[in-house]
Symmetry: C2
Subunit: 259 residues, 2 copies
Amino acid sequence: MPQYDAYLIDLDGTIYHGKNPIPEAKRFVHRLQEANIPYLFVTNNSTKTAEAFAEDLTRLHGIKTSKEQVYTSAMATADYVASDSFKKGLKKVYLIGEAGLEEAFTRPEIQLVSYDQADYVVMGLDRSFTYQKLMEATFAIQRGARFIATNADTNLPSEKGMLPGAGSLVAALKTATGVAPTIIAKPEAPIMQGALKRLNNPKKPIMVGDNYQTDILAGIQNGLATLLVYTGVSTKEQIQQKEIKPTHEVEHFEQWSIK
Amino acid sequence: MPQYDAYLIDLDGTIYHGKNPIPEAKRFVHRLQEANIPYLFVTNNSTKTAEAFAEDLTRLHGIKTSKEQVYTSAMATADYVASDSFKKGLKKVYLIGEAGLEEAFTRPEIQLVSYDQADYVVMGLDRSFTYQKLMEATFAIQRGARFIATNADTNLPSEKGMLPGAGSLVAALKTATGVAPTIIAKPEAPIMQGALKRLNNPKKPIMVGDNYQTDILAGIQNGLATLLVYTGVSTKEQIQQKEIKPTHEVEHFEQWSIK
């Protein structure tokens, strides 16, 4: 019997650094595969499709992955809206976001509409964001549309530096409307519930990641065990200050046994 | 001897409603003119030039005004940056804003530059705002540029509804950088100091406006008497809840004596 019967695993900072692989992480995933332990990559990044993540994992990082093994905040947001009870029947959505979000919202329960017909405003990171979109989303929410955000990450690492994240666009819309959004991504509940459902609601799952504020808090707040790997955002000094610690902490995955 | 020796007067909601005149306000300004009491229109709106405001006042509202009688948050921001001690000599500014801000920053002490050369990021309402601008401003502040905002108004009234104001764009940049800006406009000190200086530092000035959160707080926090006129944003019910009341309150300007 393994310690944990299912792994929810963050990507950037945990499995790779942007385009650079983390060898210990690759071996960790191979060990899970060999032991037939179910796992799902769970990322707050809403800009790329699950297919694009799977391709990058396979091609750049040597971790053979299918799109069914990736769960993005965009997919979690679409799952959430599709089954939400705020409006019955077809969900009419005004969408601000990139390819990953657009693809996730292409499904029979959802219709993408202009702002003046929307029952939902769904916002993710959009590097083609404009004042016009901010204004249209503001009007839609003023008219009563429900405000949903894929995530509230303030920044996104890039080769050029720390880019503004979805959270910065969300802050603009929140300020303009006075309405706080329902946030889907880690550390919030909706993405965790969606991910656990995809893993057929395992009995003893663990959330694995490099970021206390997103990954570890997501586990803590949703009743999962947690494993913090010090290959990314959070440092030991930061964790020492936290009242609630991760269940486990490792420098890298070689220190972690799945047995 | 008049009660007050100089008037700082808000515009929208106080002197007019958008394109619609307020007759009592027009007569009030005429009374000030006849009594030779100095006054200055002080607005948080940074999108239009002083000249454009003066033209609208003269043409649409029958209040003959020259550009010297208008002080915008854009002008106050340029005054502030021009005399700021953060960088000596020529101030290199990356500007996000509209015509009013661009015009105000066209002066010998200031050079407008691209984000990678900026010592200051100055942000006002920009209805051509894009993610690209947000990213460039984020990079400039990450590099150490000082973050200055014309104002933090969350909304701007328009014929279409409540538009996102400068404050919503400022919230995006604040979230992306983790840096809070120096804010120039009412109720903050810089615009009041700039306005009083233009009026040659009068001994007994009064701040007049319709909005407790901007106009009246600006007076209270900067040691001026205040007159709230109930023709705009603030209501009597709201003011009853405030611990610090305006010095004076009137329904409209016919109830106000300048003597």
